[in-house]
Symmetry: C2
Subunit: 288 residues, 2 copies
């Protein structure tokens, strides 16, 4: 089976789970469920749940059985985008080519939609914990990745350094926490649930997160309308990016080096590594 | 022991746990931990953890052992206040007589402090779940109370009905979800952990939440500076309150009836009911 076909199998399985979960978000007041659904279903590559499913499959685990943690991952990612787009934060009117949550529902509803999605993720993680000790440990790893020392710390650091002079150390700290934590979490959770090397999964996750962020920064400057956002926005806003720290040439070289490091870690993977290796190459060469 | 002395025992035990937890919120960037601590430690009566400890004690349980769920409760309550105070929400510059989180740290940091506190609560609930099945069930009850069908739904409904004509049904729906859920959760969690009647604990919780909210609305109109907020603010902003629905006389009567209903539920309590009964009377006659 080709890489895109395999990707589509994981993605469409997740999409089905997500549709089912969204159908359950039906309560009073309607606007709250509606605004949660809007951002959950606005699309995207579903990279985090796909990584989770693919890593589970690479270890020979029953990946379809892990819907709760896959959904929790996506709820956390989605809430972080909603809050990140708010006027007081990144002030983005568009997300994936559509109006961002607060443009569609207003700021107050967007704040609450984010809060509700994080609460919902918490409920999903506790539901997963019913399955036993390993699931509880995996859920705790995810909660830590999302929390005050993980993704939220990355957001806070990003905010703090916007418009400031900062260097390589700060940039990679933001990459690791703002992006890397929620990319590493699905890989580490898969390792926990399958009894495989967690440190190796984590290493791959942080590198993959950095690769994702390096290509994102590069695309912000070179990408076209297919991104669904405004070109050069990071630079105009004084965001700390690999381009502001290293310039284009070194950034491209760093992306290549990071991709090679991912492939090296995958060469020692305790399982089938071909899909994940192909994924790394796709991220390196993506154009949206 | 007198009621105030007993209250102080529960409150100071919780305050100690909270101080210890806050000491652990020490990471980069400093501002995130600082803004979390600021709102957690700004004070307050700690009514939710005190209710939890008191209900556990009323059932003869080892209440001091349940720090994780007590802390999770207060983290959830605190995050909800931070987000509720934001300009796009209730736009409150003060909370308990001190600058609200966003006035002290700015809007973006306040949004993130709230997110971090909810994540932290999630981590605490998962930590509690390590203790066994009953703890996991109690944690799930708390997460549901905080979530899209619980407290967040109450916030959303409150927002939706501000400035609208609405009646008794809507008012009590907001009371139950915005306030009642997080007042009922500690009582129900105590019943779950002690193997006692959960429905009775829940009934007491919802009534107590309504009583709290009735007296809050009344105090908003009649209270003095000791409240730490602006008198008559609800009315000026077109908030749905018991006064806008029933007027003062009927509101006072409803508060009395609700307090009596609480006392009746407590007369059938499967445990020592004197502290909780006294607590009901104190809420009814509170002036701040």
């Amino acid at each position: 089976m080709s890489f895109p076909e395999q990707y589509e199998i994981y993605r469409s399985q997740f999409e089905e789970e997500l549709q089912a979960e969204c159908a359950g978000l039906n309560f009073h007041p309607q606007v709250l469920g509606e605004s949660m659904r809007y951002s959950l279903l606005v699309g995207g590559k579903r990279i985090r749940p796909v990584l989770f499913y693919a890593a589970l499959a690479s270890f020979g685990a029953d990946w379809k059985a892990e819907r709760e943690l896959a959904l929790a991952l996506e709820c956390i990612h989605t809430y972080s985008l909603i809050h990140d787009d708010l006027p007081a934060m990144d002030n983005d009117d568009f997300r994936r080519g559509k109006p961002s949550n607060h443009k569609k529902f207003g700021e107050a509803n967007a704040i609450l939609a984010g809060d509700a999605l994080l609460s919902h993720a918490c409920e999903l993680m506790l539901a997963a914990a019913e399955k036993g000790k390993l699931h509880l440990r995996a859920a705790r790893r995810l909660a830590a990745a999302a929390g005050e020392r993980g993704m939220v710390a990355g957001q806070s650091e990003d905010l703090l350094l916007t418009g400031k002079r900062a260097g390589e150390k700060e940039l990679f700290s933001i990459y690791r926490r703002k992006t890397g934590e929620l990319i590493a979490a699905p890989l580490v959770m898969a390792a926990i649930l399958s009894g495989k090397d967690e440190a190796r999964a984590e290493r791959l996750g942080y590198d993959l997160g950095a690769l994702f962020q390096l290509t994102d920064d590069i695309l912000d400057e070179t990408g076209g309308a297919e991104l669904g956002k405004t070109r050069g926005k990071d630079r105009e806003e004084g965001k700390l990016t690999c381009l502001s720290v290293f310039g284009m040439e070194k950034s491209l070289r760093l992306a290549d080096e990071t991709a090679r490091r991912c492939e090296k870690t995958l060469s020692e993977w305790e399982g089938e590594n071909s899909f994940l290796t192909e994924l790394v190459r796709n991220i390196r060469s993506r154009n949206k």
